[in-house]
């Protein structure tokens, strides 16, 4: 006879709880999940075994089909896929590798939200039993994009509107138009069409038309209107770095001079045209912009503008009415110079929570014509919270009265120690102490201006905000100092 209360005689298996009903239910749910996962894993294992054992079995690709690419040109897809198919695929292994490579290329084209590959028996009427069709089921990304935004960065505030059309002509082209109004760049527009130039999608071309109105009144008593066109060929990847070859023609107009403008700025006012070829290399392998533990950032830039080679006229060619000046060939434009710039930044963790960062920027500008100086907009300007701190923005270098005229040679060096806030390492706020040095001159050698200080960094991705207390230690008499507190916003800091 059984008499209640009955004893629980079940042997507890697999740590099954015995008291709370909720706990028992949870335990069962977890157990079920575990079983399913195990089943799935064993299926995968079986499948991969099956595939691995049949790697050498003969198989050929009969056709490649891309489904769902309604807005993409067939010829463009063919140009991406054909080079991959050029390598013969005779076994299952080859077919799988080819499929993976095509899938990667499709994903790299930045046209698809979703790419899924499938192997099917070939539908071709003359197909042999070993022939398969590779079918990609894709979903294209939205073609139209419209965005309005308000941004703060590089010590200026901007409101902008951007419109983007992806895959404009069905060949992976992107058209982007942007209009912005801001505090320093008063207004700007930019229209760019970028398109792939090579089937491996490593080389892109870009045609760019832009116009902007910049306000230089705070340091050079004028405003600048620029309208230009740029054609760029860009090659490379994020890991290897990018090479950029660009041709740019831009018309600048310096005007709206302040009544107190210096004689040098008055001489510089008016229009100038630059027609230039430039070569840029950028590589950024840092894992973090503020406190990187590995990698480095480097940017090398070279530009040649104008550079007309003078061709003396033969004596018979000149007549009484033509001027006796030699004609010249070259890129044209008023500006004729060679410019080279280098920028690098490395930071490493020295102890837990403390990292050290070193940044160096330098540049040189050599005039190539009989004019002693390059036009004002092409000259270098340094100083300010994102450059040499404790000096006013663009407050260093050759100066005439209230105006920073810019220089032909410069370097700026920054060393900073970034630490976490004690007991709050997860905060986006960091403390730092820094020492900056810099010099900007007109192809002269002088003494560097040095400053030091400390402050806090607020990481406001991708923008960085800094509040610093700094003092200039050495300075040229012409430098405009910013003793005490200085606020900086920007992407790249010294």
């Amino acid at each position: 006879m059984f008499k209640p209360p009955l004893q629980n005689t079940s042997a507890p298996r697999d740590q099954e709880p015995d008291a709370d009903l909720q706990k028992i239910l949870d335990w069962h749910a977890k157990r079920r999940e575990r079983l399913l996962r195990g089943e799935y894993e064993s299926h995968v294992l079986r499948l991969s075994e099956l595939v691995n054992q049949n790697m050498e079995s003969p198989m050929r690709i009969g056709a490649v089909r891309v489904e769902g690419a309604t807005n993409t040109r067939k010829s463009f897809l063919a140009s991406l896929i054909d080079p991959v198919l050029a390598q013969p695929a005779n076994t299952l292994e080859d077919v799988l590798h080819t499929t993976r490579r095509i899938s990667q290329t499709l994903q790299k084209s930045n046209l698809f939200k979703h790419v899924e590959a499938r192997l099917e028996s070939s539908r071709q009427p003359l197909a042999s039993p070993q022939d398969v069709d590779v079918v990609f089921k894709t979903r294209e990304l939205g073609r139209y994009y419209l965005n309005t935004s308000t941004e703060l960065g590089n010590n200026e505030g901007t409101a902008s509107a951007t419109a983007r059309i992806r895959n404009v002509f069905g060949g992976g082209e992107t058209f982007e138009a942007n209009m912005a109004a801001g505090t320093k760049t008063k207004k700007s527009f930019r229209g760019a069409l970028s398109f792939p130039l090579s089937s491996d999608l490593r080389t892109y071309g870009e045609l760019l038309a832009y116009g902007l109105e910049r306000d230089h009144t705070s340091y050079a008593s004028c405003t600048e209107d620029a309208k230009g066109f740029k054609a760029i060929v860009r090659n490379g990847s994020h890991n290897e770095g990018y090479h950029e070859l660009a041709y740019e023609v831009v018309h600048r107009y310096l005007g709206n001079l302040a009544p107190t403008a210096s004689m040098s700025m008055r001489s510089a006012a008016g229009p100038s045209t630059k027609s230039a070829l430039s070569l840029t290399y950028i590589r950024d392998t840092r894992d973090d912009q503020i406190a990187a533990t590995r990698g480095f950032y480097i940017r090398l830039f070279q530009e040649i503008a104008g550079a007309g080679a003078k061709i003396p006229l033969r004596s018979g060619m000149s007549t009484a009415t033509t001027a006796q000046t030699p004609s010249s060939i070259g890129l044209g434009g008023d500006a004729s110079f060679y410019k080279a710039e280098a920028e690098t930044q490395v930071s490493r963790q020295i102890v837990d929570g403390v990292s050290m960062s070193v940044a160096l920027r330098s540049g040189i500008l050599l005039g190539l014509s009989d004019k002693p100086v390059a036009p004002f907009p092409d000259r270098f300007q340094i100083g300010g919270p994102t450059s040499v701190r404790a000096f006013k923005s663009f407050g260093m270098g050759p100066r005439d009265g209230p105006d920073s005229l810019g220089g032909d040679i410069f370097y700026s060096l920054g060393l900073s120690l970034v630490t976490n806030i004690p007991r709050k390492p997860h905060w986006p706020v960091k403390a730092h102490t820094w020492i900056n040095a810099g010099q900007l001159d007109s192809l002269n050698y002088g003494e560097p201006s040095i400053s030091a200080g400390l402050g806090i960094i607020y990481r406001f991705d991708p923008i960085r905000l800094e509040v610093n207390f700094g003092m200039p230690l050495t300075a040229n008499k012409s430098d405009v100092l910013r003793r005490g507190i200085q606020v900086g916003m920007g992407l790249e800091f010294l």
Binding site: Y253, G255, R266, S267, P398, A475
Partner: protein, 300 residues
């Protein structure tokens, strides 16, 4: 205003710990002599500007007896006071860089150098001549200027598109001779047909067209007839006199007349030039005055 506490101000004053000499711009030239900023001459070695307004002031300075005036032709009007050439850059004892004067202040500066002229007669022989000079000024600035404007080549469409703040070519621009007028805050444009031709011409597109009114509809024949009449009258009035209106010394009217006559004679368009070149007295007068004006300037 928030003042910095004294101890903090004292601390701040210690920095920078070391100060080096200022970095001076290499391209800057000190102002050692009065320098007139003008529109470039037709040929680089010439000292007479190709612009009527600039040439008028060159003649004015020369007529007032100033010599060894430097000339700079590399400054764009945007760099000038009132965004208009010419400007006079004068050395100054008080200001290191010298003082920059707009055209309207040039007479005051010349008066300070050479003594003032009788403000009632302005250098003319009598009041009647002074009043008559006003009519000649109006004729030159109106009928003659309109004739020049008619044959002036228009800037290319590409140039108009490229230039953000497009400034029209300066040649033959002419501001009002009113020297006491308020400075215009705007860059040129100079006078157009709307202001030069009387009665003002109608727009090129009008009420009967769907396009909003724009441009001007001028009759080239009417403008050229008035131009021819004006030159003929000018020639008759000068006769064989040494200066216009029988003055013994050059007057502001002579400066203006010289500026126009010189520009016309240098101009490539035959239809404009022939009206002056066939009048021997005007040609001879212009040549004599040209030598006087040229002698007063040196290009730096």
């Amino acid at each position: 205003m928030l003042a910095l506490p004294t101890p903090l101000a004292n601390l701040f004053a210690l920095f920078p710990l070391r100060t080096y000499p200022p970095i001076l711009p290499l391209s800057k030239k000190p102002c050692t002599a009065p320098t007139l900023w003008v529109q470039s001459p037709v040929s680089p070695d010439d000292t007479l500007s190709a612009d009527v307004e600039c040439l008028k002031w060159q003649a004015y300075l020369a007529f007032r007896g100033l010599t060894a005036i430097h000339l700079r032709t590399d400054i764009h009007p945007e760099g000038c006071i009132d965004r208009r050439l010419p400007n006079l850059h004068t050395p100054s004892a008080e200001i290191e860089d010298g003082e920059l004067l707009p055209a309207r202040l040039i007479p005051t500066w010349v008066d300070s150098q050479k003594g003032a002229v009788d403000p009632n007669l302005e250098g003319y022989t009598d009041e009647a001549a002074r009043d008559e000079s006003r009519a000649w000024v109006t004729l030159l600035e109106g009928a003659v200027h309109a004739g020049l404007l008619l044959v002036q080549p228009q800037p290319s469409y590409l140039k108009q598109i490229l230039a953000f703040s497009f400034t029209p070519s300066l040649s033959f621009t002419w501001s009002s001779a009113d020297q006491s007028g308020t400075p215009s805050s705007n860059a040129l444009p100079g006078p157009s047909f709307q202001t030069l031709v009387t009665p003002p011409p109608p727009p090129a597109t009008g009420l009967t067209s769907p396009i909003p009114p724009s441009g001007v509809r001028v009759s080239p024949n009417a403008v050229m007839t008035r131009y021819r009449d004006a030159i003929s009258a000018l020639s008759e009035r000068l006769g064989t006199d040494r200066w216009f209106l029988g003055s013994s010394e050059p007057t502001p009217l002579d400066a203006l007349a010289f500026a126009y006559l010189h520009c016309i004679l240098e101009f490539e368009n035959d239809s404009i030039r022939v009206e002056v070149s066939r009048r021997a007295n005007l040609v001879a007068w212009e040549k004599r005055v040209r030598d006087t004006v040229k002698a007063a300037f040196t290009v730096v």
